[in-house]
Symmetry: C2
Subunit: 347 residues, 2 copies
C-alpha cells in the first residue's frame, strides 16, 4: 500500500518531532467545551465538571494487531480510535477526548503518517471527540500506536462489568463473527498476492466481512438507543476478544453463571456462507473470533418488553445462579457445552 504512492515522499527527518506533530494535527478542531487546552503544552487540560470521567487505553503493534500489507493506514487510524471509543461506550459513557502516541520507523514517509492521521481525524469527527495530545517518536522496527480515550458520564449511568444478577437477560448488539472472517479473507488474498502479484482479487462478495475487519464502528447508536428505551444495563462490555471470553469476564466479575443459546447468536448470512467456504463453524467465529466491537450486556427481565423485537438487539442467554458454570446450550441435540476462553470445541 505504501508502494503505489507518488514517488516524491518526504522523509520524517525533514519535519522534526514538533514540526511533525504540528503538521499532522493542525487541521484537527476542538469540539468539546471540556477540552480547555489541547496539543502544545506539557499536558492537555480538561474541565470535566461534575461528571464522572472514564479513561481507556490500547496499544496496537504492527505484525501483532495489524498487517500493513492489507490494512490501509487510513483505516488503521480510524480503527485504532474506534477501538478505544468502544471501551468508553461500554461504560455507558460518552467519549470526549483522545491522545495518540506513535512510534514509527524511518521507512514511513510523512505521507504515510498523513494517511494514518486522516483516518484518526475522520473518527474524531464522526464520534465528536477531540485529539488533545500524544507523543511521536522513532521506532527501530515497526509501527506502534497507543491511544488513550477519555469520556464522561453521570455517576448513575455508568455500567460496570460486575453488575449482573440472578436471571438477568444476556443481550448483544448487531451480529458476530464477521470481523474474524474478514481477516481470514484478507490474509488469504495476501497469500495469493504474494504468489502472483498480478491477480486482482474480487472481494465484492466479502464486502461486509472485510468492512467489519478494516473499519469497525463503536456502537454509540446502541448507547443512545438504550437511553431512548430507558434501559440501563446491569452490566456491560464491548466484544473485542470474542463472545466466549467476554461472557467469562461478566461471569467472573459478577459471580453468576451464564447460559448462552447457540441458535440465538446473531450471524450475518455472509458469515454463514463464508464460514462454510473456510470450513469453520460460524458459531466458532462468533465465540472466538473477536474484533466485532459489539456491545454485550445484561438487563433485568423486567426490561425485556422495552427491547423486544428491536432488530439491533438480540437476547442470547441469561444468568443462572451464583458460582454456577457457564454453558453453551446447543439446540437439537439438547446438549450443554462448558464455555471456555478458547471457545467451544466442535462436538
Amino acid at each position: 500500500m505504501l508502494d503505489d504512492k507518488q514517488p516524491q515522499l518526504t522523509p520524517l527527518e525533514n519535519l522534526g518531532e514538533f514540526g511533525l506533530i504540528k503538521h499532522l494535527t493542525e487541521s484537527f478542531e476542538i469540539q468539546n467545551e471540556s477540552s480547555v487546552k489541547g496539543i502544545g503544552d506539557d499536558a492537555a487540560v480538561l474541565n470535566l465538571g461534575d461528571l464522572e470521567t472514564v479513561v481507556s487505553t490500547d496499544m496496537l503493534v504492527e505484525g501483532v494487531h495489524f498487517n500493513l500489507a492489507y490494512v490501509p493506514l487510513k483505516h488503521l487510524g480510524y480503527k485504532s480510535v474506534v477501538v478505544n471509543l468502544s471501551d468508553i461506550y461500554a461504560m455507558n459513557a460518552t467519549p470526549t477526548q483522545i491522545l495518540v502516541s506513535i512510534a514509527v520507523s524511518s521507512r514511513f514517509p510523512v505521507e504515510a503518517l498523513e494517511e494514518l492521521y486522516a483516518g484518526i481525524q475522520i473518527a474524531c469527527k464522526n464520534y465528536k471527540v477531540d485529539l488533545i495530545g500524544g507523543d511521536t517518536t522513532s521506532s527501530t522496527s515497526g509501527l506502534v500506536l497507543s491511544i488513550t480515550a477519555i469520556g464522561s458520564a453521570k455517576k448513575e449511568e455508568l455500567t460496570y462489568r460486575d453488575g449482573a444478577t440472578e436471571n438477568d437477560l444476556l443481550v448483544v448488539s448487531g451480529d458476530l463473527g464477521a470481523a474474524y472472517l474478514g481477516l481470514q479473507v484478507l490474509e488469504r488474498e495476501n497469500e495469493v498476492f504474494k504468489v502472483n502479484p498480478n491477480v486482482q482479487p474480487d472481494l465484492a462478495q466479502y464486502d461486509y466481512l472485510v468492512g467489519r475487519q478494516l473499519k469497525p464502528e463503536a456502537r454509540k447508536d446502541i448507547i443512545n438507543l438504550l437511553k431512548e428505551l430507558d434501559v440501563k444495563p446491569t452490566s456491560m462490555m464491548d466484544i473485542s476478544d470474542g463472545l466466549s471470553s467476554e461472557i467469562l469476564h461478566l461471569s467472573k466479575q459478577s459471580g453468576y453463571g451464564f447460559h448462552v443459546y447457540e441458535e440465538k447468536i446473531p450471524l450475518d448470512p455472509s458469515v454463514i456462507k463464508t464460514a462454510e467456504e473456510f470450513k469453520i463453524n460460524p458459531i466458532t467465529c462468533a465465540l472466538n473470533g473477536g474484533e466485532d466491537y459489539e456491545l454485550l450486556f445484561t438487563i433485568s427481565q423486567s426490561d425485556f418488553p422495552k427491547i423486544k423485537g428491536n432488530p439491533n438487539l438480540t437476547v442470547i442467554g441469561h444468568t443462572t445462579e451464583k458460582n454456577a458454570e457457564n454453558y453453551l446450550i446447543i439446540k437439537g441435540i439438547e446438549s450443554a457445552v462448558p464455555l471456555t476462553a478458547q471457545g467451544w470445541v466442535n462436538i
Copy 2:
C-alpha cells in the same frame, strides 16, 4: 541484566494477558479518592470534581529511548512514570493517576516484567499516584512503553508555556547537564564491557551523573516550594530535551525573546569535571543534553525577592521584547550567540 537472573524463569504465555496484568498489578494500592474504578473494566473511572484535569502521555521505545544493556528494568519502570509526572508538575498541577501500556516480545520472562512493574510501583508510591489501567500486548521486536498521566489543579494555578511577558525572569530548578553525561558514562562502560566482559567498571565517581540518567525525579518539591513562597510562574515547562530547545518553546509560545547568561547556568561540579574528561563543553551538555527533568519557568520581577538566595532555584536570564531573538550571553568576551534548537556551537 536479564542474563544474571535465576535460571527458572516463567514464559509470558504461562499467565495469559489478563493473568499477566493481574499478576503485575494486584499489589498496587489505590491512593487517591478521585480513583473511583481502576484496572478491571473497559475503562477507569475518575471523579475529578471541580478541579481542572490535566493529561499527558509519553512513549518509550527500546533502542531509541533506552538500552537494556545498561538500564535495569526497575529503573526503566521508575523513570518512565517520573518522566510523565514531570509533565504534570510542569503545569503546576498534581498528578493523581497513570495508565501504563507495554508491548513486549517473548524474550522477556515474567520476572523481567515484574522488575519493570516494581519500578513503576515505587514511583506510584513516592509520588502518590494510582495505576488505574493500561494494555499489555506482544511485540515483534523490542519493548515499548506508553504512559499516560492524569492530574488536576485549580484553574487559577495552572501554568502554561505561553504566559511569559516583558522583563520576566527566567528561572531553572536544580542543575543541568548531568543526565546527558550519565548516559555518556554508561555508553562508554557498555562498549568496554562488550570488548572485555571481565572488567568491573568503577562508576563511584560518576554516581551523581549515572543516578540522574537512570533514576531522575520529577520536581514535585519545587511545585510545593513555589506555593510556599507564594510565587506563581508566568509560564513553565520541564526540561526533557535540553535547555536550548525548551527556551525556544517558551519564546515561541509567548512571543517574547530571551537572554540567557552562560555563567548563570547551574552545573554540578561533577558535570564540569566529567565534561572535561569527555572533551565536551559542560554548557553544551546543559543546553543540548536533555533528560534533566528540572523545571524551567518565568516569574515577574516583583517576585524576585521571594526566590532570591534559594539554593534550589537559579535565575539564568530574562525575557526581552516581543518578537526579539533568543541569545546566549557569554561572559568575558561579551558576546551574544543566537540560541538554536541544536544548541550553542562552540566559538
